[in-house]
């Protein structure tokens, strides 16, 4: 069948099951946009800045558990996607980004809106392509989706020269993607599984350390089975929140720099650490030599480069987390060596030790009758949404308070820019999440600084009737940096005071959204209730205690046991 490159593009997206794409048009992709107009299977969401398209695609993919798609033009359109792509790369989010490119004959001529986006994004994509021949277009798109969603997921970029889009080609029949060089390992090595299981059985003080890989591989049930059958406490990374029920008695919440006291103490004292789909990030480990110093470390990860990169691992298992956990659960169920009751009892004293830590330093804050505490806002959000909302965050204090106080019970309910830490992620991500889950409550927990990095997306939210709620924890500061300056720079607040700020209520109204403000603790609940009852985009401006800090805190470079507490 003869089609144009643009028609083939649409057919390929349909073939991949794509329903929504996020984008922004321009000269190099105008033919694609012409084709988008002629069909109704794929909804195009017009963002107001290309970075937002990528963040929205990121969260859309996370909620759906599939590949998010963004489409932008050449040059500045392409360069504006870089932050979003880098964020998705750090967080292993499946995504395909299409960028327009000048016609092939002009490539290298410094043409108008030409940029070497393949060169620029090489270090922040799982793989990327410049399609130089129209005949390669369809196989390239199929390969890109295959790469994005298999193995360790990640963003893949395809650069489409204008003449490739307008060329006429034969549309090849769908065929399974075969790649000579790419065969991710899904199945665990049985010998390693057995070794890991034996180490777990021998443990007196085991801890499960679950990361984003648990979410990506949909293995929350397998983790829960492992933890509950053997009575093993679970701590999660920022990316892993929701991988195990946050309100479960075995949950210790998050670990690391702003993790709970008891998570960090448990890791520091455990004898077996079971790392699942986590990568021993510096924000998790603190000083590496003091991280889990007494533990035999088991590490399950689909990416061999993650293993023994930061911390030496004793029992590596290269596999998909779901496959590896199933294999472990099966081993325990079948093994004559494993008596679930006896093992559970064996961990009793350890769990008592942990609950003593929990009692000693619970996650908390000092309530104030006159000033709104940000943690209180997040707690109220949790309470009034029954913990069922999809939460996105910006980056900084808002992100940490959301992670600490909104106890996620289910996977794919928390979207945050974990690895790269992108301010401006949360709002476009909320739009992406809402497009993936219409009818669900989606809340962006934001700071007054970071919300301004993609505030223009109020127009997008309104245009596509996304009733997302933005909860601005407004302290009139770039709060996290201010906190560091307070603690480590003698309160010298260099460039962290936001002296000029918009009136967020009026700003919301200017876009036709709803703006609400709370300045006292008693106003928090009514404002949230009103926002939740409103079928429109809402900004909730919570004027909070200006110098509230995020605690516990492990100062950079310190051991995780050296926490600053409230």
């Amino acid at each position: 069948m003869k089609v144009t490159g643009a028609q083939a593009f649409i057919k390929c997206l349909e073939e991949q099951g794509v329903e929504v794409i996020f984008g922004f048009p321009g000269g190099a992709v105008i033919d694609l946009y012409d084709e988008i107009l002629k069909q109704d299977k794929i909804t195009h969401v017009l963002v107001r800045h290309e970075q937002a398209a990528v963040h929205a695609a990121d969260a859309y993919g996370r909620v759906k558990g599939d590949v998010g798609v963004a489409l932008v033009t050449s040059g500045p359109g392409a360069t504006n996607t870089v932050t979003g792509i880098a964020s998705a790369y750090c967080d292993s989010i499946p995504m395909v980004v299409f960028t327009g490119q000048v016609p092939t004959m002009l490539i290298g001529n410094d043409a108008f809106q030409e940029v070497d986006i393949v060169g620029i994004t090489r270090p922040v994509t799982k793989h990327n392509y410049l399609v130089k021949k129209a005949a390669d277009l369809v196989p390239t798109i199929r390969e890109a989706f295959h790469l994005a969603r298999t193995g360790r997921p990640g963003p893949v970029l395809i650069d489409l020269p204008k003449d490739v889009i307008s060329a006429t080609i034969n549309f090849p029949d769908p065929a399974p993607v075969k790649m000579r060089t790419y065969r991710p390992t899904y199945e665990p090595h049985p010998g390693q599984v057995e070794k890991a299981c034996r180490a777990i059985l021998a443990a007196k003080k085991p801890v499960i350390y679950a990361g984003g890989g648990v979410i990506a591989s949909n293995s929350n049930e397998e983790v829960t089975e492992l933890a509950t059958k053997l009575n093993i406490p679970v701590t999660m990374t920022l990316m892993g929140l929701g991988g195990f029920p946050g309100t479960h008695e075995l949950s210790m919440g998050m670990l690391g720099m702003h993790g709970t006291y008891y998570s960090n103490m448990a890791v520091a004292n455990c004898d077996v650490l079971i790392a699942i789909g986590a990568r021993f990030d510096d924000r998790v480990t603190g000083r590496v030599d003091a991280f889990a110093p007494h533990a035999k470390i088991i590490h399950v990860d689909i990416d061999p480069t993650s293993i023994s990169k930061n911390v030496t691992v004793d029992i590596p298992i290269v596999a998909d987390c779901k496959h590896a956990l199933s294999a472990m659960n099966t081993w325990f169920a079948r093994s004559s060596e494993c008596d679930f009751k006896a093992v559970s009892e064996q961990h009793g004293p350890w769990l008592k030790e942990i609950s003593a830590w929990k009692k000693k330093h619970p996650l908390g804050y000092v309530m104030d009758e006159n000033v709104i505490k940000p943690q209180f806002v997040v707690q109220k959000l949790h309470e009034l949404t029954k913990g069922e909302a999809i939460i996105t965050t910006e980056v900084g204090q808002n992100q940490m308070w959301a992670a600490q106080f909104y106890h996620f019970n289910k996977p794919r309910h928390f979207m945050t820019s974990g690895g790269l830490g992108v301010m401006g992620y949360g709002f476009p991500a909320a739009i992406g999440a809402q497009m993936a889950a219409p009818g669900r409550t989606v809340i962006d927990v934001a700071g007054d600084g970071s919300i301004q990095m993609n505030i223009q997306e109020l127009a997008t939210a309104r245009q596509y009737k996304c009733p997302v709620k933005i909860a601005i924890l407004n302290n009139n500061y770039l709060g996290m940096v201010r906190q560091w300056q307070e603690l480590f720079y003698d309160k010298k607040y260099s460039a962290t005071g936001l002296e000029v700020a918009p009136d967020f209520v009026a700003l919301a109204q200017a876009y036709g959204a709803v703006g609400l403000r709370a300045t006292k603790p008693s106003e928090v609940e009514p404002v949230i209730k009103e926002a939740l009852a409103t079928d429109n985009t809402v900004i909730m401006d919570f004027v909070i205690a200006r110098e509230e800090g995020v605690f516990p805190m492990v100062p950079a470079g310190k051991a995780t046991t050296e926490m600053l507490l409230v």
């Binding site: 060169g119 000579r180 480069t305």
Partner: protein, 160 residues
């Protein structure tokens, strides 16, 4: 410790910069690099020499393997292999030194590939140590210029 790593990769545009970008981006070192086609025209063999402790070398080989265009990664240092570089040397060859230059390169089985009024161009292959020895011997006579390739390597056949 130095490691000579061979990488088989798909001969596609940009593939070399994927490899070198990986090294620069992650702070790994490349001491020498050599790349050309293999028997299969769409497959290239890239040989590089790098330096690092075991953990770094493990990361390097894993990270290389993670690149989508990479087919195979071999750390030759783990095997008995032949390693070769080639060098071109322009050395002063005046009436009183010509004979000495010829004697030295004869010992190292080099050859003169170009003769100028007052210089010889010498071509020689060998491992890095041997080529360095020649350079050191010829330096007092007067080397004007050298050009050296990266190392290439091939594992020796198994003897039973």
């Amino acid at each position: 410790m130095k490691h000579t790593i061979s990488v088989l990769l798909q001969n596609k545009p940009g593939v070399l910069s994927r490899v070198t970008g990986l090294f620069s981006g992650r702070g790994f070192n490349i001491e020498s690099l050599s790349v050309n086609q293999t028997l299969e025209p769409d497959v290239s063999c890239l040989t590089l020499v790098t330096d690092g402790d075991d953990a770094i070398i493990e990361q390097i080989t894993k990270q290389l393997h993670k690149l989508i265009d990479v087919i195979k990664v071999t750390d030759n240092s783990e095997a008995d292999c032949v390693e070769r570089e080639m060098i071109l040397i322009r050395v002063k060859a005046e009436a009183h030194t010509r004979a000495e230059v010829l004697r030295i390169i004869d010992i190292f089985r080099g050859k003169v590939v170009d003769v100028g009024p007052k210089t010889y161009m010498i071509e020689m292959t060998g491992n890095a140590t041997k080529l360095q020895a020649v350079v050191d011997l010829l330096r007092p006579i007067g080397i004007q210029e050298i050009v050296r390739t990266g190392t290439i390597a091939m594992i020796r056949a198994k003897k039973n």
